[in-house]
């Protein structure tokens, strides 16, 4: 399953569960009417459990996501890697057109004018990595390209009327 399908499935599963609950509650208005007091007695008990379950789920998800953060650790920053400067400007990326496969690369991304974003699309068109390109700052993005082929960098921060045509294709591997 591609990342896109996974994200969509995850969204649809959660959303359908929520909608199902709403529909069930909506349907209950056709059942015999209950006293509000009785509803509350049951409701508060369920609410307590829901509160606990939700908080635990959210904190567990938070913890589970941390190892996958894209920020470079100090050790990764010191490890040998090919440094590739990327300069974004309205409406182009100044960067090499050929990059090595299976080698760690650190993109040093900055901008010459306004805010841009350096988003890397693989040959299948999936967005695999990105980082903002901000004037006066350099963002370091570490990537290893495992598959050779034609990649495309697209701007993902609105930068003016040419934003949608701001792209640069580059080849990974070969020569």
């Amino acid at each position: 399953m591609s990342v896109a399908v996974k994200l969509l499935v995850m969204f649809l599963v959660f959303a359908s569960a929520a909608i199902a609950i709403f529909l069930a509650v909506a349907y209950s208005t056709h059942l015999p009417v209950s006293e509000q007091h009785d509803v509350q007695q049951h409701g508060y008990a369920i609410r307590g459990r829901w509160f606990l379950a939700l908080v635990l789920f959210l904190i567990a998800s938070f913890a589970a996501s941390i190892p996958f953060y894209p920020y470079m650790s100090a050790t990764a920053a010191l490890a040998p890697a090919r440094k590739v400067p990327v300069i974004a400007e309205q409406y182009a990326f100044i960067m090499p057109s050929r990059l090595p496969v299976d080698k760690p690369i650190i993109f040093e991304v900055t901008s010459r004018d306004v805010n841009h974003d350096f988003g890397i699309y693989n040959p299948q068109g999936h967005l695999i990595a990105q980082v903002q390109a901000m004037p006066d700052y350099t963002n370091y993005l570490r990537v290893i390209f495992h598959a050779p082929g034609q990649y495309t960098a697209r701007c993902l921060e609105y930068c003016g009327v040419g934003h949608a045509i701001m792209a640069k294709t580059f080849t990974v591997g070969g020569k």
């Binding site: 959660f14 709403f22 059942l31 015999p32 805010n115 980082v131 993005l141 949608a164």
Partner: protein
């Protein structure tokens, strides 16, 4: 207990009428954008981005007006609020909106409403339109802050200062509080307090940035730190967008008890929930800067954690209580009830989309893709707009003592919500496949999905148009029963 006077009613009608009218216009602007992405409506990129700036800035202001008018009406029932002040506020915002409309439609300003410095000064549009846009946004912020001050002042005066309005003693010293006989703020006072307080902070950061930008506009040698500016932009834009939801949610606190004939009181869970919302909303905005690797690291963790936790008060308190109100209440599904209840669904589903995007590792794939408009259209169109429309219908139904027939209700529901689902799924699918947001011309599969989405949006607009016609019939088709609205607390 008749709970509204004519002045409140007119103020609410003014704010909500303007807000909903602007929202309706902007739906057509939105449809133009989507149709243009589908390749059905030729627009130059310059035109596309000017319309996008218009669409974004004006709908946010429009829904804010709905929230301000609704909450003002609710709070006026128990606090003293001056109608004159609120008319000045309205005039300020209206003048600002006119400036924004002029800057985008006539000046072609296309820096977007979440303008990130220094973009407004590097555009292809005339210099004056940047100034007009900035002045417009400043006027809107001044109006907004005046409303916040008025609301905050009224709430603090009515419930005995900050601690009273926060219901501090009610939570910590219950016995003493009960004995003291002090007034306990009703549920809708908490969104009012939150809008007033968080809104002031957001307004202050908008003004700070606004002043910096205006100075930069006057003197091009002035330097603005782009990371600082980005933090301020997202702090106020995110907080505004969130407050819109929380303000309109106040309508649920009064509307649903009315529709279900049940009571809704301030409880400890409600109070603590609102304390949390008030705080978490201020730290959530960090999730807009996940892809800024130069942002101090702890903020990224804080952003994810607080974005996650802000789901807790919403679903455990407001949504859960709403479900308990409806559960086996025998509620009649009038149009007002349908819209309000469906608005809760849009709020939750949009929230799910937001939480997925607020997860840093997923954000790598979703940041600034169409997933972002996907989730916020879900809770703005499928949540906020429905709360406002539902509220208007509850008022009209209670005033005319009439209900819409089953056939028409089904028709409106199917068209509106069916069209909306298709329209929104177009955004979600495109976002998951990495199609960037804010692209006048999208890479595949963007244009194909834009076609489907445009059809969905058209169907949804037809549904809303039918609802509008039905609203007009309810308003003018029946004689005024007692010349007053009977929206009351506790039914």
């Amino acid at each position: 207990m008749l709970t509204s006077d004519n002045t409140s009613r007119r103020v609410m009608a003014l704010y909500m009428g303007t807000g909903l009218a602007l929202t309706a216009l902007m739906m057509f602007a939105g449809l133009m954008l989507r149709a243009s992405q589908a390749g059905w409506m030729p627009m130059s990129p310059g035109q596309f981005y000017a319309v996008l700036t218009l669409h974004g800035a004006v709908v946010i202001v429009a829904l804010m007006l709905c929230g301000m008018g609704g909450l003002w009406f609710l709070m006026r029932r128990q606090t003293s609020l001056s109608a004159a002040t609120t008319l000045i506020t309205y005039a300020c915002i209206a003048a600002g909106a006119v400036a924004v409309i002029a800057a985008t439609l006539f000046g072609g300003f296309a820096g977007l409403y979440t303008f990130l410095a220094p973009l407004p000064f590097h555009g292809s549009w005339p210099y004056w339109s940047t100034g007009a846009f900035l002045v417009g946004m400043t006027l809107i912020t001044i109006g907004w802050m005046a409303w916040c001050m008025q609301m905050l002042g009224a709430v603090l005066r009515a419930y005995g200062g900050a601690l009273g309005a926060l219901a501090w003693d009610f939570v910590w010293h219950r016995k003493a509080f009960d004995a003291s006989g002090k007034p306990l703020p009703p549920p809708e006072a908490f969104p009012a307090l939150m809008a007033g307080f968080d809104g002031m902070l957001a307004g202050m950061s908008a003004m700070l940035l606004g002043v910096a930008l205006v100075v930069r506009w006057l003197d091009a040698r002035v330097l603005i730190n782009p990371l600082w500016a980005k933090n301020l932009t997202y702090f106020f834009a995110h907080t505004y967008a969130n407050l819109i939801i929380y303000m309109l949610a106040a309508l649920i606190y009064v509307g649903l008890p009315y529709a279900t004939g049940r009571k809704y009181h301030t409880s400890t869970a409600l109070v603590v929930g609102w304390w949390c919302s008030m705080l978490l909303t201020l730290t959530n905005y960090f999730h807009h800067l996940y892809m800024d690797f130069v942002q101090p690291g702890p903020f990224q963790y804080l952003g994810e954690l607080s974005s996650y936790l802000s789901a807790v008060p919403v679903t455990v308190v407001t949504i859960f209580s709403a479900l308990m109100l409806v559960w086996r209440s025998g509620m009649k599904w009038t149009l007002g009830a349908i819209f309000m209840y469906t608005g809760l669904i849009g709020w939750v589903v949009g929230g799910i989309g937001a939480e997925i995007d607020a997860t840093v590792p997923f954000n790598v794939h979703l940041h600034n893709t169409l997933w972002v408009p996907a989730h916020f259209h879900t809770y703005l169109v499928g949540g906020c707009v429905l709360f406002a429309v539902g509220w208007v219908f509850l008022c009209l139904e209670s005033r005319s003592m009439r209900r819409t027939g089953a056939l028409l209700r089904w028709l409106i529901g199917l068209l509106t919500f069916g069209g909306m689902a298709v329209f929104l799924m177009g955004f979600y699918c495109a976002g998951a496949y990495g199609v960037p947001r804010r692209y006048a011309i999208e890479p595949p599969p963007g244009p194909e999905l834009a076609k489907i989405a445009s059809i969905g949006a058209t169907v949804m607009i037809i549904g809303f148009a039918l609802a509008f016609a039905e609203g007009v019939r309810l308003r003018f088709g029946y004689p005024d029963q007692e010349g007053d609205m009977r929206i009351e607390q506790g039914g």
